[in-house]
Symmetry: D2
Amino acid sequence: MLSLESDYIKGAHEKILERLCEINMEPQPGYGSDRYCEQAGEKIKAACGCPDAEVFFLAGGTQTNAVVIDSMIQSFEGVVAADSGHVSIHEAGAVEFTGHKVLTIPGKDGKIQPENLRTFLEDFWKDGNHEHMVFPGMVYLSYPTEFGTLYSLRELEDISEICKKYQIPLYLDGARLGYGLMSRECDLTLQDIARICDVFYIGGTKVGALFGEAVVFPKHNTPKHFINRIKQHGALFAKGWLMGVQFDVLFTDGLYFEISKKAVELAQQMKEGFAQRGYEFFIDSPTNQQFIVLENKEMERLKEKVKFSFWEKCDDSHTAVRFAASWAATESEIRELFEILDEMRN
Amino acid sequence: MLSLESDYIKGAHEKILERLCEINMEPQPGYGSDRYCEQAGEKIKAACGCPDAEVFFLAGGTQTNAVVIDSMIQSFEGVVAADSGHVSIHEAGAVEFTGHKVLTIPGKDGKIQPENLRTFLEDFWKDGNHEHMVFPGMVYLSYPTEFGTLYSLRELEDISEICKKYQIPLYLDGARLGYGLMSRECDLTLQDIARICDVFYIGGTKVGALFGEAVVFPKHNTPKHFINRIKQHGALFAKGWLMGVQFDVLFTDGLYFEISKKAVELAQQMKEGFAQRGYEFFIDSPTNQQFIVLENKEMERLKEKVKFSFWEKCDDSHTAVRFAASWAATESEIRELFEILDEMRN
Amino acid sequence: MLSLESDYIKGAHEKILERLCEINMEPQPGYGSDRYCEQAGEKIKAACGCPDAEVFFLAGGTQTNAVVIDSMIQSFEGVVAADSGHVSIHEAGAVEFTGHKVLTIPGKDGKIQPENLRTFLEDFWKDGNHEHMVFPGMVYLSYPTEFGTLYSLRELEDISEICKKYQIPLYLDGARLGYGLMSRECDLTLQDIARICDVFYIGGTKVGALFGEAVVFPKHNTPKHFINRIKQHGALFAKGWLMGVQFDVLFTDGLYFEISKKAVELAQQMKEGFAQRGYEFFIDSPTNQQFIVLENKEMERLKEKVKFSFWEKCDDSHTAVRFAASWAATESEIRELFEILDEMRN
Amino acid sequence: MLSLESDYIKGAHEKILERLCEINMEPQPGYGSDRYCEQAGEKIKAACGCPDAEVFFLAGGTQTNAVVIDSMIQSFEGVVAADSGHVSIHEAGAVEFTGHKVLTIPGKDGKIQPENLRTFLEDFWKDGNHEHMVFPGMVYLSYPTEFGTLYSLRELEDISEICKKYQIPLYLDGARLGYGLMSRECDLTLQDIARICDVFYIGGTKVGALFGEAVVFPKHNTPKHFINRIKQHGALFAKGWLMGVQFDVLFTDGLYFEISKKAVELAQQMKEGFAQRGYEFFIDSPTNQQFIVLENKEMERLKEKVKFSFWEKCDDSHTAVRFAASWAATESEIRELFEILDEMRN
């Protein structure tokens, strides 16, 4: 069975496993106070061009979103997101669990349109009385989005400017950050993100690590006693060094970018393969996830040989599905996918 | 530098690392729906003598306590714990963060005394009006306790009977469960725990795993939609199989018990070593943690060569400290500890 | 200055004040355990045709919504509401504060369309995996809606049937219930509501009382230890009898319905007055609130003599505003409104 | 039946009722933005000798405590209280419901001992690592306490100094403030409280009002967007002016102090009456609540003619009970109490 259903179906890059094995019996201080976390932090700060940043490691994306959002906004504030935003749809209400509303605005291809955001905030603030409303306290966006799409540098800068005008932080969820930055269509760098955003995370779970997300506060703006807040959320990892080691490896000699690039290239091969065969795309994704519309019967037959993800029903006879190329995908897998498809179609 | 400060200073048992390396590139379904979690669950249920139990894996102890407690009690209920209980003192208010009060009763040597619990519950219920009070909705205890002490089978059964009388579940925090069960003074088995408790967890983080705690619901009493609750708490691990694999190894051929036993035996060697040299014990612990009273100057000198944990000030010139023997400790480390001590004292 | 900006600008019906003065020095037991609460409850149950119902009094609408919703749904559940629903827009996130998401679906004229609700629930449940989503745990609707509109008996029954199919309770927010039931266009009764809904409240604050809302659980379905839950939310009123007395008066000899009817009739006079003068209606409301589109300059001039509520901007030169006729409004006030308007327009 | 069981068994002082009747049909803006709230605020600020203070009105004590505490501390902080503190024992976990731990320290006669507080805070801060602990973020005390006892000016100043040293606010719960300030043993004034405390409330519900508590922030320290926070807690009263009017009356010509004084004097007559008859006092209270130890049989007989509150069991044959003199108590009631007692004893 060929597995292309997501980018978190395999363990870790071999260099990570090797390193974890090497240092396995070295005693380490707990809770992220070890030298590997320190070292990984330094490398990430260098990669961000941001020597003054502060870096923390958390174990998963939903957890990271809940901790970061809850820590950076006031109790009477909510977080603005596109209506397709992960925090709104697919985190089982983890943000609301911490007491905050997710304020959704209509997205386009998974992205917040700067003009929609501007209108939303203008409308909120121009009316005199907000005492019965949830204040917009932060803007959340994902890069790449849940649909694999990318913001342009210009779009991010526009959104950032709007945030600055209304004095609310901009938070970028980078669960698949590498796959965005290494896309041919990406016109920005990690340094741009560190310059533009007030907080963001560099996803490890989906990009080569066993688990782990690196939260970066680039502007001396770490919430006070952030470790306590993490602990209070049940999110403080005892053996924090496990994440330090992993990110240390990922940010040594550009491994994070290298493996991301390979995955995106394979995804583009997939994209071309589907296009050549005349498949309809649910959305045009320049990153590692491809969303294809399949005729239901074909989908059922394909299921017997390939694992992919159900995305959504298009109509009674068609369904959008997702194929993902991860850091661990191989050219032979892509070849196999199309061999199976071609065989099925003959 | 000799490291004996805690039982979570090293990675994982070599068999676990090997297995993680072996299956690293096998594609797995996410969120604990894989066959390793299934397999580990089966082995744990067998070890518990409880084929009908349900088993879930979470990444850390505080997280597990918050999720389990919040999921099993009503919003107007709190959890009863000894005043030294981990949930009350050392989890940064993670239980209160979920809206529940920790109702403390005076403990003895870290343990809830059955008679204190009975009095507490009797007093609560005999007064007619509890509408302005937090209902006791669960009893929490740790085994071994935060002081390394153990409940006897009789004590646990008494506590369980009281819980049954008041129809509230009994929850056992087994962060160091192996080190309790393998103590010479332990008069109960894992099966006893599964029979007596309504929910408990088998700690992996401190007992041979990189991370992971196995929550067991032995009585068809898993909270409805428990996975959603875990997700809502930000605690659903994407690559759940990483924990499945680890517990599968730990519960194959009794590895969990074997490595626990070794740690406890080394701790007893430590205990005897301290006793022979006339050290005062802060508390009499039959498990893998030893609490010793050191004269402050000696403590300062010892710090230069050995890592241990500060526990609490005893008086102006004495301090209680903790030495822990983990699954990864060795006889030579214990020997080295006493060589250093003996050298210092000459 | 003529005041028509809302229906909570004056104190209480004179009979209520009289009764409060009469019993002022009678000692009463606290927290709603008095005979006036009992008596008012009996009268409300009779009016609902529901002798087995249970009735509780809370001091305000937002509080009532938060307590009822949080008490009736599970932690992993949210409440489904129209996107214009009060709980979603105008309660400062009080529902999210208790940890629950408000799941919005597009409304029409402030109402949930049964077919939209059906689709929403079908879509949620047909997809196999909801472990990362917030479960729909209740349906919330307001009657009349925030736009003054009314559900027909048929619509309510359809919604109720859908709720039953998915086994979730239907909650009706009756902050202005009297003004709905006494509308000429209303085709249902309080008994219908008690039969159809799983929980609802009869608003007092906007309908003749100083304050107070009567929550009715008609189906032996009061959440366990509901008083404790109220207290935990900070919503248990010490002198509960103050609300008992008020609802006792309101439900004696049909006063609640009589004063509601008068208000709705005055509102219909307003409506006709605006219609005769060619004003555009923002929405067609058959109840006590009227929403009129004013040209901005006219609006500014009118503001000098009449208080009304800003509703929303329509375009650069027009604004929708609200005029409300409460239980305390008089025919002469309506006359005065149109005298002012007519004078302005000449 | 003679009713002395508490100080919230009757409605409001007649002057308040009169005024509420007078202004009943005056239209008012909602949510506390009316001129009566303004006026009452001014009078309270004058009485506090604090022209720059900000004053808000909430409907009840538990609600006030939850809103004030949750608004003034950070999410990772808790509130320090005596173990007998109302917020810890008798508010059904309303503080924990907002996510914060109540950190209890042993009290004496219901009071925080300054030296205990100092030790608690010193101990917390001297240990280097608090990342797993709840930070003390505020000190809560009640004046008078739940046992009717009073802090001396010196004690309050000592506590305030400790709070300043650790930079945490001091909060005084004045549910019965008048009965404290008017006690013969009180050596401080309302101005002292406004000078010493960072926030406090002046109780109305138990001191002459139908309901209402006036929260005072004397030091330009109102939490940002406090109205939103109140709304989010479900605690924003629609007809806020009802509380404004009541406090306006209470703080006109010293009515609040006058009626408090009368109540305390009657309580002292009670105290003397009990003392003369040789009754044992459960605690020595200089305020309006008296705590008497009754032999159980006598208690049962007394219950037939007098209402009092159960306080706690003393031993198998004795019980502590509470008699309260409120603003509405009369000399003839006190006389009647002793006539009943004397008759019973003959």
